[in-house]
């Protein structure tokens, strides 16, 4: 008789662990079958399983809230405001680096064009002097 009570107690313990594991989403099919068989005959464990199943079902069926479409744009706008008001760092530093690249590039291009114009002007000037000299001799 005592053995039978001990065995029932152990089964209830196992069932309790299986119910908790069910909540964690890690009760295998075999354990679930054993659990169902146990609760059919155990008035103590049946309500525990019933409540856990109801809680899990309710949680899984809770509706997800939808965000308005403009949410992303609102975040990015707030982000730009926040960035404008903070010291350089992170993304802003990256943007500063890009700006510096364009400034240096534009300055370099301007210098090359300037030099090219000066060379052309110099050559044209010499050509003009030569023509004047030729005309003077004539």
């Amino acid at each position: 008789m005592r053995d039978s009570r001990d065995e029932t107690g152990r089964e209830c313990e196992r069932a309790g662990r299986a119910i908790e594991d069910l909540g964690d989403g890690r009760t295998g099919r075999v354990r679930l079958l054993m659990l169902r068989r146990h609760v059919r005959e155990c008035p103590g464990c049946a309500p525990r399983l019933e409540k856990m199943s109801a809680v899990l079902e309710a949680l899984s069926e809770m509706q997800r809230e939808q965000l308005p479409e403009e949410f992303t744009a609102a975040v990015m706008a707030r982000l730009l405001d926040a960035v404008a008001g903070r010291p350089a760092g992170g993304a802003e530093r990256g943007r500063d680096n890009r700006n510096l690249f364009w400034v240096v590039g534009a300055a370099g291009l301007g210098l090359v064009i300037g030099l090219a114009l000066a060379v052309v002007r110099h050559l044209l000037g010499r050509q003009g002097e030569d023509e004047l000299a030729v005309a003077g001799h004539a």
Partner: protein
């Protein structure tokens, strides 16, 4: 903290974070689009108010952007982002004066933080007797569970939301909440225990 092996998703996020750090705002927009729904739903379930949740979700992304320099790219971005979100939600609840935490000792055994919540104090409203009879039992149960969820201690609530609604593993939840995996698991079990208790008279 040791580095963790990132999932494919985590690797993609790390690339986007790197691009953000280099000044690519579009990369950050991609991250916003990817996680805005999850962040919003987590903070919404935490604070229970749509408008406040929208504001908190926006703040979460701003804080994340501003903290990108300190983010360790070897860690999962999602957990880091959700950590900012849940901490912001808990801060808001504290400002409202209704935060409830359960302290954890070394073994992860929670004791109600004084003057926190004891099991006796966890008393969501009983199922309303004026609920029409044609409302199904399942719906009534769902309403009781939703209400009970709001009454849970914040750390318990966070675990339930992250595990059951967002599908995070306890390991990920541990990273989000800054506690060991087993502590997160213990909180989850206790939270479900409290939720089951509320159904005592409802079923």
């Amino acid at each position: 903290m040791p580095e963790v092996r990132l999932t494919l998703d985590g690797i993609q996020d790390a690339r986007l974070v790197k691009a953000c750090r280099a000044g690519d705002e579009r990369a950050f927009e991609t991250l916003v689009l990817k996680y805005q729904d999850q962040v919003f739903n987590v903070v919404y379930r935490m604070v229970g108010d749509r408008e406040e949740a929208m504001d908190l979700a926006q703040e979460t992304f701003i804080k994340a952007f501003q903290g990108l320099d300190s983010f360790n790219q070897g860690r999962p971005f999602r957990a880091w982002l959700l950590r900012i979100g849940t901490n912001s939600a808990i801060d808001l609840l504290r400002r409202r004066g209704r935060a409830r935490d359960v302290r954890v000792d070394a073994e992860g055994v929670g004791e109600p933080a004084a003057p926190g919540l004891s099991r006796g104090e966890f008393e969501p409203r009983a199922p309303a007797s004026e609920i029409p009879e044609n409302v199904s039992l399942a719906r009534e149960t769902a309403e009781v569970v939703t209400e009970a969820l709001e009454m849970l201690p914040d750390n318990y609530k966070a675990v339930v939301v992250l595990h059951h609604m967002e599908g995070l593993s306890y390991s990920e939840i541990g990273k989000v909440l800054g506690v060991p995996r087993n502590t997160a698991k213990t909180w989850g079990r206790r939270a479900r225990g409290l939720l089951c208790d509320t159904l005592e008279g409802a079923m």
